[in-house]
Amino acid sequence: MAITGILRVGLIQFRVLDFEQSLVHYRDRIGLNEVGKIDEDRIMLKGYDEFDHHSVVLRRADRPGLDFIAFKADSREKVQDVLRRTREEFGYTIEELNDQPGYGTIYLVNVSTGHKVGVYSDVALAEKTPMIHNPHIWDEQPRGFGATHFDHALLYGPNAAETVRWFTDVMGLAITEELQNAERTGNICTWLSASTRGHDVAVLEFPEPGKLHHVSFHLQTWDDVGRAADIMARYGITIDAGPMRHGITRGQTIYFFDPSGNRNETFAGGYEFFPDNPRRYWDAERAGEGVFYYNKALNSTFLSVYS
């Protein structure tokens, strides 16, 4: 196997205020497939091009925000190695989660930024996977934006440097890019990859713990991003920024909001990353260009609006 250890970010559970509007948003507009209900307050979804049982869980609650994000390991040995080193080297508390259909135990680590970051190895294939025998590009024509898969998330929280060190040293992720602070004593934001993606997760230093900046879904081309923008305009989805390109990761993107105020992103393009690539780095005063490559300035909501 070319990629070993942690393979990718594979599952995210976050909160929504209601199901009716959220399903229209995630299923009919973004184009995720509904997998089923876990209980009265949780719905499972997945991108049409994902093999595993489900990748997104919406939990109905009185406030939006992140419950957890979880990474798939290639073996139980890797999971045990992560848990042992987490206890020995970081002392973070670990919770066991056993109620996700199709999944074995997911171990949730309480990292320094106040997020729950999970690791698991056992997960069943979805009932409807992408085709594998003389495969068509898709079995059923994708809906809405035609998002292929859950791509990554940007987390906001304190002590980000320590969580980044946990991601690199214990999980084995690689830093693809960093936005350095003005004093060059650390990073404002760090982008991390488990594979050849530009990032599986990014972590931004922020005073409030456990916050979610955005959940991102992958589209295949810049044309798909434009089509997504048309659908957003038609159906009154609040666009935060874009369509545009990130300097960092080079992704072609739109930031927009779900009906509960969680920020979403469509992400297309971007470069392929290999672990032997030198790390790309950005100066603090070039942050605007790093995030919004065309406008070259952050918008007012980038740091003030999150869930």
């Binding site: 406030r63 939006p64 969680n262 909501t301 003030s304």
Partner: protein
């Protein structure tokens, strides 16, 4: 000569629109909410740069306001941004506040 059908202000569909007047102390002049528009969406038409425009979906709390007079209905909003006590004091999120009469309100922003 060909007759073109146009819509004018006497068209019952237009004149039936429900127009309410809104007043906010840091917006220079009164503005209107048309039909079932939220306070935030009404404000966006006259003051698109106003700092209260965030997620516009009841989550982020940037558009927190206090209604000083007038009647309204509310949609779903995050309990992290608006508590039960807030609601009793007329504190709500503009994006999920739908006026049913003329309204006077004050901009608060996110709770500390």
């Amino acid at each position: 000569m060909r007759q073109y059908r146009t819509i004018n202000s006497k068209d019952p569909q237009i004149s039936a629109r429900n127009v309410l007047n809104l007043v906010c102390e840091d917006v220079p002049s009164p503005f209107t909410a048309i039909d079932h528009e939220s306070v935030l969406h009404a404000l966006r038409r006259v003051a698109p740069q106003h700092p209260m425009f965030g997620c516009a979906n009841g989550g982020c709390g940037i558009c927190r306001i206090q209604v000083q007079s007038g009647e309204f209905t509310c949609g779903l909003m995050s309990a992290e941004q608006v508590s039960i006590v807030d609601r009793q004091q007329g504190i709500v999120l503009a994006c999920r506040t739908f006026p049913t009469t003329d309204l006077v309100f004050k901009y608060l922003g996110k709770p500390n």
